[in-house]
């Protein structure tokens, strides 16, 4: 056995243990790179026809045009998961592996949540703590997802104002304010067209997973589980 063997095994183990996060991180970067390239080509096609300045990929990815396109998608994804995380505390979907059982609706007891005196030895420190630290940690996932949603939506508003004003100047019109853009059909069209697709995806996954199966996926019930079994992941 070579001296490098343990390090190789350690690396393999790291990749296996973090495969899901690494996979989505990699396809995120590939998608962003692809969006940057085709977005630049798309923008430049229109600019050439109109006799307007064309952009390099570097200029495009730092422009408000790219910014608004990225931010409008990010905000809707974080809103989708924020709502899913919060709605599943109080709402159930009988038969869905994404839902908990009717008797578990709500924030649940300290014992069920393993906090305070019911914390285990390896529980996070703030789950063992009392007062504001436990309260904050008990809602930390929703708070962080909500904060990223608001920041992304704010970025969409600011970048969208700049991109719209760039187009208005190209049309020889006066620029508008952020407040005007916040009331504009374009801002709400960009926002709602993303929201509806996210809500459709979550809603259909919750309902489809009652009757359909994906063998081996924790997002699905075991293939042989009855349709009316709730909160069972395979």
């Amino acid at each position: 056995m070579s001296a490098h063997a343990p390090r190789r095994a350690e690396r393999r183990s790291f990749l296996r243990d973090n495969g899901l996060g690494l996979f989505f991180g990699a396809i995120l970067l590939l998608s962003l790179a692809g969006q940057a390239l085709v977005g630049t080509a798309d923008y430049n096609e229109g600019a050439r026809i109109a006799g307007l300045p064309t952009l390099t990929v570097g200029q495009y990815v730092t422009s408000s045009y790219f910014g608004v396109d990225v931010a409008e998608n990010w905000q809707s994804e974080y809103l989708q998961f924020l709502l899913f995380i919060l709605a599943t505390v109080w709402l159930i979907q009988r038969g869905s592996p994404e839902s908990k059982k009717a008797e578990d609706v709500g924030r649940e007891s300290d014992e069920e949540q393993q906090v305070g005196p019911y914390a285990q030895q390896r529980s996070p420190a703030w789950a063992k703590a009392s007062g504001w630290r436990r309260s904050l940690y008990s809602s930390s996932l929703g708070l962080v997802m909500g904060a990223i949603f608001l920041l992304s939506w704010g970025a969409q508003l600011v970048a969208g104002t700049s991109a719209m004003n760039s187009r208005r100047l190209q049309n020889l019109q006066n620029p508008s304010s952020v407040l005007d853009y916040a009331h504009s059909p374009e801002f709400w069209n960009r926002t709602l067209q993303n929201w509806q697709s996210e809500f459709l995806a979550v809603g259909s996954m919750v309902v489809f997973s009652i009757y359909l199966r994906e063998r081996g996926s924790p997002e699905s019930k075991p293939v042989g589980a009855p349709h009316d079994t709730t909160a069972l992941e395979g």
Partner: protein, 99 residues
């Protein structure tokens, strides 16, 4: 500013126009840029009141004129000049324009 340059050195002013603005002006006047620019009747030079830039585009508001500019590979170029506001958010009516 641009109108002063157009009056004193039309050749240099033509070099500051975007390609589209220059060719549309020449086409409309059926004359070379320097002649067309002199005949365009741009407002008298005046002080700058404000400048706003968004992405590659900018607007320069002067006391007696409004100029639109854009940042091309070779630098900032005038895309429209001698512009007068129109009512109800309509595009400015410009003596020189063309992308």
């Amino acid at each position: 500013m641009f109108s002063q340059l157009a009056a004193t050195n039309p050749e240099q002013a033509c070099g500051l126009l975007s390609e589209h603005a220059r060719s549309s002006m020449e086409k409309e006047a059926d004359a070379p840029c320097t002649t067309a620019l002199t005949d365009a009747g741009l407002p008298k030079p005046s002080a700058v009141r404000s400048v706003e830039v968004y992405a590659t585009d900018g607007i320069v508001v002067l006391e007696g004129d409004v100029i639109f500019v854009a940042r091309f590979g070779e630098g900032w170029r005038v895309t429209a000049a001698g512009c007068r506001p129109e009512p109800e958010d309509q595009p400015y009516d410009c003596g020189i324009s063309g992308g």
